[in-house]
């Protein structure tokens, strides 16, 4: 589970290298391009399904009658190490995805609750890193000089850091507190430079473009140029960066939870479920497969969608 931000950085470099400006691409054309790709349609459908699953977790739990924390001693065989009773990890009409060994908690309810936790953390971290990254990137790129020096050195410093190791150390050392919030903070600290670096590069090329010169000549102040001329031209890049950041953070959060420094038990998280399933893979493979599949498909869907979005936007630029 490498931190996806580093891969992200590479892809993002190509974005940064592409001609930055151009008029904002009409959203309608991008959408129609995307709709022609079955991969995108499937990805989006899956993402929507997971978001619904997460949002409706409490409702679904009340429909099935099994919450994410409810033990079901009837569903496990305490004489056999607590293995789920029945085939495929105890999949039944009552437990749609089976139950966890040793305690009989409903995997469907925990997957839904876990989706909520994972998406909340990943989306929050993406929002924070995008806002911080865009603001600092534009400041560095637009003003240059000492502001650029300071921000760029901080970014170099953070990007040169062995982020995963530091996150593990930091999360182990910090008091328990509000784990999801801590995770968002830690992910954001190491995540924003990957956004800021791209934004800085694009801002630097945009600020010398003719339309910016024209605006300046017509007496526009810095704030107006930044908000009316530069930012709108960064919109496509920001959307792509954010879309591609989400799967990175989902993966990283799962990785940290897998390593035992993520969300606190008994709050479920996909990474944590995978970690606890490792020992059971021979006798109860479904326990491992279900959260693994959800994690894999979620990351894949966001990545596919982000890639295609980037292509569609680039095509718009080229047109």
């Amino acid at each position: 589970m490498s931190t996806a931000p580093s891969q992200l950085a590479i892809e993002v470099d190509t974005v940064g290298a592409s001609p930055g400006g151009g008029a904002p691409t009409p959203a309608r054309r991008v959408i129609s391009t995307l709709r022609r790709s079955p991969a995108v349609v499937l990805s989006v459908a899956y993402i929507v399904a997971v978001v619904l699953l997460a949002a409706l977790a409490p409702v679904l739990a009340s429909i099935t009658g099994w919450g994410p924390y409810t033990y079901d001693p009837e569903a496990i065989n305490a004489d056999l190490g607590g293995i789920p009773i029945g085939p495929l990890g105890g999949i039944s009409a009552e437990h749609w995805f089976g139950v966890e060994p040793q305690n009989g908690r409903d995997i469907f309810a925990r997957i839904a609750q876990g989706a909520q936790v994972s998406l909340l953390i990943a989306v929050s971290a993406t929002l924070v890193t995008t806002v911080v990254g865009v603001v600092l990137g534009m400041v560095a790129g637009f003003y240059g000089g000492w502001a650029d020096q300071v921000i760029s050195r901080v970014m170099d410093f953070l990007m040169a850091f062995p982020a995963l190791i530091f996150m593990i150390a930091l999360l182990s050392a910090l008091p328990a507190g509000n784990r999801p919030a801590l995770l968002v903070i830690v992910l954001s600290i190491f995540g924003w430079p990957y956004v800021a670096r791209v934004i800085r590069g694009q801002t630097m090329s945009l600020k010398n473009r003719e339309f910016v010169e024209a605006a300046r000549a017509s007496g526009a102040g810095n704030w107006r140029i930044v908000s009316r001329e530069v930012l709108p031209n960064l919109r496509g890049t920001i959307i792509v960066l954010a879309t591609l950041a989400v799967p990175g953070y989902i993966g990283t959060e799962a990785g940290l939870s897998f390593l035992g420094v993520g969300v606190m038990p008994p709050t479920p998280s996909w990474g944590q479920m995978i970690a606890s399933a490792v020992g059971w893979y021979t006798v109860d493979p479904m326990f491992f497969l279900i959260p693994g599949t959800f994690l894999f498909l979620t990351v894949l869907s966001f990545t596919v969608f982000g890639d295609h979005l980037q292509k569609a936007l680039d095509a718009g630029d080229a047109a």
Partner: protein, 564 residues
Amino acid sequence: MKKRYAVLGIALTAALALTGCTAGGSTAQNGNGVSGEPVKGGTLHVLQNADFSHLDPTMGFDGGVNNMYRLIYRTLTTQSTGEGAEGTEMVPDLATDLGTPNADATEWTFTLKDDIFFEDGSPITSADVKFGVERAFDPALAIGSPYARILLAGADDYQGPYISGDMPAIQTPDDKTIVFSLSKPFADFASAVGQNVFVPFPADGDVTATSVDQQPIASGPYRVESYQRGSELVLVRNEHWDPKTDEVRKAYPDSFVWTFGLDSSTVDERMIAGQGDDKDAIAGSVQAASIPRIQTDEIKERTISGIQGCTTYLGLNTTKEVMSDPLVRQAISYAVDKVSVQSGTGGTLLADVANTMLPPTVAGQTEFNLYQSDDDKGDPEKAKSLLTEAGYPDGIEFTMDIRNQPKMQAQAEAVQQSLAKAGITVNFNLIDTSTYYEVIGTTTQQNDAAITGWCPDWATGATFLPPLFEGSQIYEKGNSNIAQLNDPGVNSRITEINAMTDVDEANKAWGALDEQILELAPAVPLLFEKTVMVVGSNIAGAYSHAGFSGGIDYVSVGLASVPE
């Protein structure tokens, strides 16, 4: 004082196994299988997750390493062999008998056997025993069994032979006689001298504070041939050990080879497959996830199980406001669903539900259950009414220290879930496994509750109840009385029992004190955990020894057949 769970964790994953016996019951063995008579010779392999803590017996102190020490070292007395209570009985080892006390049991005299030698052929004298005990006082080595330091007179100012020189509390009138002066009467000193701080080392040799840990000097049937920390330990026969002087150690194999650093699931896979050298191998308890896989007839025949002789319990910090009311603690005792804690630990094969603090392997343990519920599944209604009586009609909330380790987490979650039914909210304070005991043993850092475990240092209540519940044993650091119980009735009863000169009478009194303590509910006994071990198909004489956390008794195990 230790021997709690962490230690045990290491000992167990690592090492071995089990015991049989009383409540734990034993599964499978039959006739000529693992319980048959071994033959002499061959090499016995042990697959282990973690290395032993120390080869120096004054430093190592947990069930796994104590078991291994019996192969290399001898003490004045030692535990017997056999399943259950038979194995935890003390018998003479280097000494001819269990010692002779003076009238008030403050002075104990032991006589050494003839024909006992170190691995270099030099005879073991009383001066060597004295030197071995003195070493245990060295500040650098004083991390092992504490009993020499607790019991001997003048222990407070003595810092070992390298700093303080001679210890007046140990006298050696001649080469065969050794006399210990104690700081207070102690009727069960014969058990204390079976601790590994009573291992002899050559007094006139070149033994330094650190040399033993590098190069042990054997007095038992095996000596260390090679040792690579973290990967391999090889023991071969000590030719100078005379079996006629030793009624305990059978010493069947010609050599023992430990392989360390194996992942627990790798160990399980290898033991289940049982191919090649693994036919001659033993290992520690299997993981819960492997339990369903060892249910075939072939594997059942080579599976042994037994209880560890330890108690897993939920300690309630009585100094915290919410826990200071006995009614609240009793409510928690009623509400805990011990069956779900058992399932989280691995089910009925890996744990029995506990209702007493003293495990069944302890002499004098009495069966009782003060907080009954249907099938031990907890009684949230009773708990709610007790909470209402205590002035908490809306329930309570408290913080539990837990360890970042799957089994411990599963136990904590099971407790959390069952208490939730009684309106009790449990928050977790997740602590790294390596610092867990430090945190819960520091009175200023521990929270309202913690799940931990305790194993007796020998099988009586004397090494169990006082460290956990005696008011005078609350220490700022390294505290094991995590309930911080300081109850005058309990304290005075402990003093009375300690002064008893009849060991049997004292043991019964400990059993009764157990009930007296649990009426105050400073702790909720949860489980008597068990070990389930799969051994190789060529193993014989394997049984779980209750005195070594349920590990396979090394001095009795051997191979069923040895190729020519």
